[in-house]
Symmetry: C2
Subunit: 208 residues, 2 copies
DNA sequence: CTGATTTCTTAATCTAGGTTATTGGATCGG
DNA sequence: CCGATCCAATAACCTAGATTAAGAAATCAG
């Protein structure tokens, strides 16, 4: 499954409304600045299961999800997958480590369903910082928010049991729980799919 | 070594050399900008065990550690402590959630040994962003780095066993392992002190 | 220096969650 | 529409790490 099999008719057809609204939540752009910014974006269509970033790739862009759903995960030495992040529409995703250092990273990013993303190449992002310094602020703020939720997740993993982590997940991502396979949720909260299945059964039995 | 230079850095007793060097790793400040910045800082001496931020406090400043060592941790519903971060000299520490939202937070920050910190109040930090926009960049970069290491730690917790996490900790923080009590390391890597003790004993036995 | 507090170790027992295997049900791609 | 692949559920058994308890060693405050 190759991401280069783009269907030509999808090119130049993507909507910038969502990404501009995403940005306007933190900084205000003039029409001209909006044009500079959108001019830097690359459009990419990802069929289900297409891989945007492989293990050991150097991450060259941040991705903004317009439609569908991506996921970022690693594969450990026993072949188990651990999901770091799901990215439904209106979310950013990248291998931050690799993006910053430009070293090969260990994150895999792929599409859980047919998806459309906008890519902001690192090179363009750096030009953006000098030409429109407000973007320093924008990315500072979204990185801060990302850090806060990441810290909370770490604390949840340290202090909560599996059923509580599952409950947290359902509460925090009510839309995701409907659409992504249960084994992906298991790989996110840090249990085996079998055990998650057991948890749900126990919960059902208790509730009647 | 010129006495007058030294005096300029010790305005009210604490040394700004370290914090200015910390900042110069990412942005270049003029002498005037340095003066504006250091003028915003509050000095605070913390004897061992002193608490800088209590649970349910609103976090009103970022702290930069000049000497000693702080730790940020939460207390779960069973009374167990979970260490989110250690902050030896040259590190920043804060309850990011509370600092951003100005809501009461759950993080406790205290001193593991006699320490000196410089506080940058949130209000001053915001003034800094408008008066010296380079600081947007500075805090974007350190937040990005913090996010990267936090993500790696989360993945380690999901994919590694306890002894591997301990080995990682020793490798990443060789100076800390010498000076902080073992039970604090246990509360960081996510095991009981008893189990960490067992791990070390097993490791010693195996290595001869 | 000294008692008090905190920290480390060891060991027996217990449990949350993992492993393996099997089955039936969904979903997908052709 | 049909076979292939993937996914969810259940159950028997297994292990990493928790719990409890108790003594030894280290560190601290007066």
């Amino acid at each position: 499954m190759c991401i280069h099999d783009k269907h030509a008719l999808y090119l130049n057809g993507m909507d910038y409304t969502l990404i501009l609204k995403n940005i306007s939540r933190h900084i205000a752009l003039t029409a001209k600045e909006q044009a500079v910014f959108t001019g830097m974006l690359e459009e990419q269509v990802l069929p289900r299961k297409a891989v945007l970033l492989h293990e050991n790739d150097i991450c060259r862009a941040s991705a903004f999800v317009v439609s569908g759903c991506l996921r970022g995960y690693t594969i450990d030495s026993n072949g188990f997958e651990h999901v770091l992040q799901f990215a439904p529409p209106d979310w950013w995703i990248a291998d931050m480590y690799s993006l910053i250092t430009q070293q090969p990273g260990h994150l895999v990013i792929d599409a859980l369903e047919d998806s459309e993303v906008l890519l902001l190449p690192k090179k363009e992002q750096e030009i953006l910082y000098t030409r429109i310094p407000k973007f320093e602020r924008f990315f500072r703020i979204i990185t801060e928010n990302s850090l806060v939720s990441n810290r909370q997740r770490l604390l949840d993993n340290l202090s909560l049991g599996a059923q509580e982590r599952y409950a947290q997940f359902c509460k925090r991502y009510p839309t995701l729980i409907e659409k992504i396979p249960q084994k992906q949720v298991a790989a996110y909260i840090g249990v085996t799919p079998e055990f998650l299945s057991k948890l749900k059964a126990a919960w059902l039995k208790k509730s009647r």
